[in-house]
Homo-oligomer: 79 residues x 2
């Protein structure tokens, strides 16, 4: 079963990567670009065949390894 | 208008970050994790109000800055 996890910095946490992208886009002539936030996307192939079990497993992975929940939030898509 | 861009390494391109995550998950006791691929997600707030124009602008951003199209592919969600 496939799972996709998005890990983004929480709102209010400074995102220097996103800011760098925003400045670079402006310098390239792309006007009208407001906020830019950059995060990680992680695609996993997992053995669980039940969607609920898969989501629980991926949630545990996020809490233990994939996200720093002090400053990052994550969301999980299964399927 | 909001846009979300996913930038992933193309299939066949070695993904050391994904491999590191896979090994770490195994070491933490998560068995049955097959392939892991890690990429970037970029959320943009852009001024264009027309979805087609917004997508064209974001596509240009990807080609010029956000993705290295030699080794990376991107996909764009508008709205």
């Amino acid at each position: 079963m496939k799972a996709r996890v998005h890990v983004m910095l929480k709102d209010g946490v400074l995102d220097p990567q996103g800011e760098a992208v925003r400045h670079a886009l402006g310098a390239l002539g792309f006007d009208g670009v407001g906020g830019v936030r950059q995060g990680k996307v992680i695609d996993l192939e997992i053995a669980a065949t039940d969607a609920a079990a898969a989501e629980a497993e991926v949630r545990a992975m996020c809490e233990k390894l994939l996200a720093n929940t002090v400053i990052e939030r994550y969301d999980i898509e299964i399927g």
